[in-house]
C-alpha cells in the first residue's frame, strides 16, 4: 500500500460516524437545524469516503482483501485490528452508507415522538459504525464487537421512538439477539482453541483444514455460529422477534433493520461459517435449506393472514430471507451469488416498502389494511411507488428482486457435491410455490390498499402526496432497484470472485 489514504480509508468509513456523534454531543439540543446538518454531513462524508473506496477498488483482481489494515490490538488473546474489504463486504457497506443518508433525509421534518433529533441521529450514526465495521472486520473478535455494537442503538431506537407496544418489542429483540450471540461467541472461542490460537478469519479457514478437529466438534461449532446468525437473519423458527420489532419500530428503524441489520446474519454465514467450517456446512446444509423453505412458505402464509401493513411487510422479510438462505444452503457459486444479490435487493426493496408504510402511517395514522383503500385516488404518486416496490418485491423480471430469487431457485437444481439432489429439487419446487404466494400476498395488499376509493372515514380528508424529503430519500432507492434489475452484472461482477473462492471449498 503506497498511498497513505489507502490504509485509512476503511477506518474512516467505520469511525467517521462516531466522530459525527461526538460533534452532535457538542451541539446544544435546541439547535435542531444544526444537529440535522451535522448528522447529514457526517453520513455524506462517510459515503464519500466509501465512494472513493469503490472507485479505487480493483474489480478485476482475483479474490483478495482490499485496503487491508492489520495492526496489533489485543496481544494476550492474539486478536488483531484486521480490517479489509472484499466482494462480499463492498456492496453491503455501500448499501449501509446510502441507507443511513436516506434515513436522515427522510426524518428531516418528521421525527417520531418523543422527537429529540439529537439522540435519534446520534444513535443512527452509532448504528452505522456498527454496521460498516461488521462488514469489514477480518478478525472474529473485532467482528463480534461491531456485531454487538449494533444492538443497543437499535434497542433504544425501537424502545424510545417506537409504537405503543415498543417496550415489549425492543426487549424481545434485545434478548433474542443476545441469546444468539452468546452461542456465537462460544463458537468463536472454540475455534480459537481448536485451530491455532488465532481469531483471524482467513488464517482460521486455513488452520481448520489441517487442525484435525473431529467432525462432531465441527458440527457443534457450526451449530453455535448457526444460532447466532440464524436469529439475526432471522430464519424460521427464530423469526418471532422480527414482526414485533418491525411493527413497533419507527419507520427509519424498520428501514435500517430490514435493509442492513438482517444482512449481518446472512453475511456471517457466507463470510465466516461456510469458509471456516466447510465440512460441517455440508452436513448442516440440508437442514438450513429445509428451514429456509419452511421460512419461505411460512412467511408467505403469515403475510396472507396479516391485518397490519407493516406487519405484513415484516413477514415478507422472513420469506425473502428464506430465499437468501436457500441460496446459501446450496453451497454453490450460483446460490451464494444469488444470496448476495438477494441481500442487496431485499435491502433496497423492503426498505422502500417500509418507507411507503411509514408515509402512509404519517398521513392516515393507521396501517390497518381494512381501513386503507383508494390510495391511487387520494395519493396517486405514493400509490404508484408502493405498487412499484411491491412488483419489485414479488420478483418481477427487470427489477432487482428477480435476481435474488430466480438464481437462488435455479441453484437448488444442482447443489454442491455431496448434497442430496432430490432433496434440494424438492426445495426448489416448494420455493417456486413460494414465489407464487409472494405474488399473491403483495398483489392482494396492493389491491386492498390502492384500488377502490378511500374509506368513508378518510373520504373527506385531503392528503399531501409525496413531499420533497420523501422524493430525495426514495429516488436513489427506486433508481437502484431499476438499475440492478436491468443490469445485474453490476453487482454479480463485484461479488463473484469472492463467492467463487468460497464455493471452491465445496
Amino acid at each position: 500500500m503506497s498511498h497513505g489514504f489507502d490504509s485509512w480509508a476503511l477506518s474512516l468509513v467505520t469511525f467517521l460516524p462516531l466522530v459525527g456523534v461526538l460533534l452532535l454531543v457538542l451541539v446544544p439540543k435546541a439547535e435542531e437545524e444544526m444537529i440535522k446538518w451535522v448528522a447529514l454531513g457526517t453520513a455524506v462524508a462517510t459515503a464519500a469516503v466509501m465512494g472513493w473506496v469503490m472507485a479505487a477498488y480493483d474489480y478485476g483482481a482475483p479474490n483478495r482483501l482490499h485496503f487491508e489494515v492489520n495492526k496489533s490490538w489485543i496481544d494476550v488473546i492474539n486478536s488483531r485490528f484486521h480490517i479489509g474489504i472484499d466482494g462480499l463486504g463492498l456492496p453491503l457497506v455501500a448499501l449501509s452508507c446510502v441507507i443511513v443518508i436516506l434515513c436522515i433525509v427522510y426524518s428531516w421534518n418528521h421525527f417520531p415522538e418523543p422527537h429529540n433529533p439529537k439522540a435519534f441521529l446520534a444513535l443512527l450514526l452509532v448504528l452505522e459504525t456498527g454496521m460498516n465495521g461488521t462488514f469489514i472486520a477480518q478478525d472474529l473478535i473485532l467482528f463480534f464487537v461491531f456485531f454487538e455494537l449494533v444492538l443497543l442503538p437499535m434497542f433504544f431506537l425501537i424502545g424510545v421512538w417506537g409504537g405503543p407496544n415498543r417496550q415489549y418489542a425492543s426487549l424481545k429483540f434485545f434478548l433474542f439477539t443476545m441469546f444468539g450471540s452468546a452461542f456465537m461467541l462460544l463458537s468463536f472461542l472454540a475455534l480459537y482453541f481448536k485451530a491455532g490460537h488465532t481469531f483471524d478469519i482467513a488464517t482460521l479457514a486455513e488452520n481448520v483444514k489441517t487442525a484435525n478437529i473431529s467432525h462432531g466438534t465441527q458440527l457443534l461449532i457450526f451449530g453455535g455460529l448457526f444460532l447466532g446468525f440464524a436469529i439475526k437473519v432471522p430464519m424460521f423458527p427464530f423469526h418471532t422477534w422480527l414482526p414485533d420489532a418491525h411493527t413497533e419500530a419507527p419507520t427509519v428503524g424498520s428501514v435500517i433493520l430490514a435493509a442492513v441489520l438482517l444482512k449481518l446474519g446472512t453475511y456471517g454465514f457466507i463470510k465466516i461459517a461456510l469458509p471456516i467450517l466447510p465440512e460441517a456446512a455440508r452436513s448442516w446444509a440440508p437442514w438450513i435449506g429445509l428451514l429456509a423453505v419452511i421460512g419461505i412458505i411460512y412467511g408467505a402464509l403469515g403475510c396472507l393472514a396479516q391485518k397490519d401493513m407493516k406487519r405484513l411487510i415484516a413477514f415478507s422479510s422472513v420469506a425473502h430471507m428464506g430465499f437468501v438462505m436457500l441460496g446459501i444452503s446450496t453451497l454453490t457459486s450460483t446460490g451464494i451469488n444469488a444470496a448476495m444479490f438477494g441481500m442487496v435487493a431485499h435491502g433496497l426493496i423492503t426498505g422502500m416498502l417500509f418507507f411507503c408504510a411509514g408515509s402512509v402511517k404519517d398521513r392516515f395514522h393507521t396501517l390497518e389494511i381494512s381501513r386503507l383503500g383508494g390510495l391511487l385516488e387520494s395519493m396517486p404518486k405514493l400509490a404508484w411507488i408502493l405498487g412499484f416496490a411491491s412488483m419489485a418485491s414479488l420478483g418481477l423480471p427487470g427489477l432487482a428482486g428477480f435476481w435474488g430469487e430466480f438464481p437462488a431457485i435455479l441453484s437448488t437444481y444442482s447443489p454442491a457435491a455431496g448434497l442430496s439432489e432430490p432433496l434440494f429439487r424438492t426445495f426448489m419446487v416448494v420455493a417456486a410455490v413460494g414465489t407464487v404466494l409472494a405474488a399473491g400476498y403483495l398483489l392482494w395488499l396492493y389491491q386492498r390498499t390502492a384500488f377502490g376509493s378511500p374509506k368513508a372515514e378518510f373520504a373527506q380528508q385531503h392528503f399531501h402526496d409525496v413531499n420533497l424529503e420523501e422524493w430525495i430519500a426514495w429516488a436513489p432507492m427506486l433508481l437502484m432497484i431499476v438499475v440492478l434489475g436491468l443490469w445485474p452484472r453490476l453487482l454479480f461482477h463485484v461479488t463473484d470472485t469472492a463467492v467463487q473462492a468460497i464455493a471452491s471449498r465445496f
Binding site: 494476550v76 455494537l149 443497543l152 425492543s170 452468546a182
Partner: protein, 502 residues
Amino acid sequence: MLALIHSLAQVPFAKPHIDYHALAPEIVLTVLAVSLLIADLFIDETRKYVITTIAGVGVIAALIPIVTLAVDGSDRSLFGGAYVVDNFALLLKALFLVAGYLTLLMSSNYLQEGDYYEGEFSFLVVCSLLGMVVMASSRDLITIFVALETLSIPGYLLAGWRKRDRKSNEAALKYYLLGVVASAIMLYGMSLVYGITGSTLLTDIGAKLPTITDGKPLAAIGILMVIIGFAFKVSAVPFHQWAPDTYEGAPTPVTAFLSVASKAAGFVALMELIFIGFVGRPNVWAPIFWVLAALTMTVGNLIALRQTNIVRLLAYSGIAQAGYMLVPFAVAGDNNAAQKSAFTAILVYLISYAAMTLGAFMMVIAIARKTRSGEISSLGGLFEYAPGLTVVMSIFVASLIGIPPLVGFWGKLFVFRAVLDAGTGWALFLGVIASVNAVIALGYYGTLLRTMWMKPVPDGDRRPIKVPQSLVVGLAICALAVVAGGIYPQVFTRFGDLARFF
C-alpha cells in the same frame, strides 16, 4: 519466662534495611491521615470541604512514588520477603488509590449536604486505603491479616456514618459482627497453616505444603478456613448476607468504596494466597471455589432480579460479578496455561469491575440528588430530562451486562478463556453456569435501561439535574476507563502478563 526473655536477648538485633522508596506510598498515606486529623481541628465548620480536597490531593500524591517505582521497574523485597513491591503490587496499589480518590470525589458534596462529619470521614477513608495498599504488597500471613484489619476497621465505622439513621446503624453493626467472625475464622485457619508448615511466609508455605506427609487434613481445614474468611470479605454466597443490608444502609459513597475497593482487596489477598501460598494444593481449594463461584453467580443474579431499590440491585449485581471473578480461581489449578490465564482474567475483571461499578454508584448519587429516592422506578423518564447522564449510565450498565466494546465484555471473555484453557468437564460446566447467569443478568440490567429510556417520568418533574463538579470529574474518569479500555483493551490486558508473579 525469664529464660525466654534471656534467650531472646541473645538474638543480636539487626536494624532491618528499609527501602524508603518502596515504602513511599504507604508513608505518604500515613502522613496524610495524621495531617487530616490535625487539619480538621483548625478548619472552620463552614469550610470542611477543604479537608476532602486535601485528602484527594494527598491520595494523588501517593500515586507519584508508584509511578517512579514502576519506571524503576525492579522488584523490591522487604522485611525478609514478607513485603514485596513488584508490578502486581504497584498495579493494584494504583487501582486502590484511584478507587479511593473517586470515593472522595463522590463523598464531598454528599457529606456536606447531609451535614455529616467530613474531616474524620476522609481520615478513615485514607486509613482504609493504607490497609489496601499494604495488602497489595503482602506476601506473609501476618502482613495479610494486619492489612485486612487496617482496611476493614475504618470500613465498619464508615458504614454507620449516617448515625441518626437506623438502617445505617444496622449496616455498621451487621458488617462489624460478621466481619469480626470472619477474621476469627481466618486467623484460626492461618494458625493451622502456620502450625503445619512452620512459616508465615507465603513462599515457604508454597514450598512446604505439597511435601507434607502428616497433617494433610489439618492443612486442608486451615486452607478452607482462610478461604471462608475471605469469602466473607468478597461477599461470596453463602457468606454474603451482610452485604445487601450494609450496602443499603451505608452512605452511598461508602457503599461504592466497600463494594469496589474493599472487595478488590479481598480478591488481591486471595490471589496472593492461591497463586503463591496454597498453589500446590489445588485439590483442596479448587472444589471450594467451584462451589462458591457457582452459588455466588446464581444466587446473586436471581435475587438481583427481584430488587426494586437501585443500591440493593447494585449490591446483588456486585455479588454476582464477584461470582464471575471466583470462576478463574476454580479452574486455576487445572494446568499451567489455565493458571496463567486465570491470573490474567482475575486482574482484568477486577480493573473493569472497579471502573464500571464506581461509575454506576456515582450515577446513583448524581441522580438521587434530584429524585431523593433509591427506587428503580424513580429513574423513569431520565432520558427525557437528563439525556447525557442517561447515556453515561447506559454505558456503565451495558458494560456490566458485558456488551462489547466496553471493558465488562473483556472481563467476561478472559474468564471464559481461562475456563476453556482448563478444558476439564467441571471447568466447562462452570462456564455454562456463568453463561446462563450472564443471560439472567440481562433481566435486571435490561429493566434499568428500560426504565431510564422508555418509562414515563413518575412525578412529572422534568427539571434538569445539577451535577456537582467533583462528580463530573469522577464520572468522566470512569466513563473514559470503561470506553477507552473497551476499545483498546490492550492497555490493561497486558497487565496480566506484566504483573504475574509466578
